[in-house]
Symmetry: C2
Subunit: 225 residues, 2 copies
């Protein structure tokens, strides 16, 4: 009796089709100005049907965020799958996050939105947990890499990989956010090139994380000032 299985597949693919439409609309309009009617139109379904597959507009938004997290994680996994040295992998993953920011701007923006207590209140716990789990997976990639660096003596052993991960992440994200929202302001009014700021912050962080022997060994790779 493969009927239930077929139906389950059909249900899943419809869910995805709805999410395709939702993603397109959210990318164009953002959460508050996107309308469920427009999503339904684009998906060529009635509004009622949308609500058979998702509890609310906010839940759909989170489902799209979940996709973005998968995209980012794939980029990260690719970045560390090259079999290179740990220092190079750290640089790769930093580059991958920057590439994600540049190439997947829409997802990046949705992430910022997600990071507010207000939004958490408007969303089903179920979806929220899924997102947290996805976040955790990506996060563990970063922390494992730092831990590996510590084990190999490349990074100072007194550092806590998790704490350094948070700091690096917070710094990069904060600078990206400025790039996204106020790049023109920083450039035209303040004469600041934020890419330079980003490079500087990487230098500082690597400088404070890496052991002297590793710095010496990877000098060429790092081009530290």
């Amino acid at each position: 009796m493969g009927i239930t299985e077929r139906k389950e597949r059909e249900r899943e693919s419809r869910r995805e089709a709805i999410l395709d439409a939702a993603q397109k609309v959210f990318f164009e309009k953002g959460l508050s100005t996107a309308t469920v009617d427009e999503i339904a139109d684009l998906a060529e379904l009635s509004k009622g049907t949308i609500y058979l597959y998702y509890r609310s507009k906010e839940d759909m938004y989170l489902a799209v965020i979940l996709r973005g997290e998968a995209v980012m994680r794939n980029m990260f996994e690719k970045a560390i799958s090259t079999g290179e040295s740990t220092v190079k992998l750290i640089l790769n993953i930093a580059e991958a996050y920057y590439a994600f920011f540049k190439e997947q701007r829409n997802y990046f923006r949705m992430f910022s939105f997600f990071e507010t207590p207000q939004f958490h209140k408007q969303v089903s716990e179920e979806m929220l947990n899924q997102c947290v789990a996805a976040d955790e997976k990506t996060w563990s990639i970063v922390v494992n890499l730092i831990s590996q660096g510590v084990r190999e003596g490349i990074l100072h052993s007194h550092i806590d990989p998790k704490q350094f991960g948070i700091i690096v992440w917070a710094t990069a994200t904060g600078i990206y956010r400025q790039m996204d929202t106020n790049s023109e302001y920083w450039h035209k009014v303040m004469g600041i090139n934020l890419e330079e700021t980003l490079r500087l912050s990487y230098s500082l962080l690597l400088e404070s994380m890496m052991t002297d022997t590793a710095k010496e060994e990877y000098k060429g790779l790092l081009r530290l000032q």
Copy 2:
């Protein structure tokens, strides 16, 4: 003919009274779930009147943000008005930003909201410019302080005060945001105390910014690891 002046004053105080109500409602409910009707009720005015004073709900939200910026700036100005050494003033201002985060959480949350391109689109240019101007004032306090540190030989002369300002700001804000949204997660699941992370990031940044002589001189003040 003091009538126009009196009327102007009355108009201004009504604007403030409306904003008092708006602030209360926004603090409680956030932008999307707050209603203009509720603001009007609380202000004991009709909804129509509200719209004689503010163009939109979003503009009111920005006006409250503007208040928050003033509060923060006052805290900063107080922090650097003690006539202490520049190193101490830098520590004071870092403390002031943390105090703002802890004591004025509602404003802090609104700030995050403000920092999205989506929101910028929904708001009058007039209000936006006011906010940018307010931001700039606060920003210049920080940058001036760093510049002063460079002039006095306390901070490395090769650093660009603006770029360092951005990095410090981005790091602190990113960590605060984690504290606000995911503190429990970091603590219970990851065993991370974000206050420690914050201290660590300050250490790193000061370590990389300060000259060796200054570090020696202000050892006691800094308690660098």
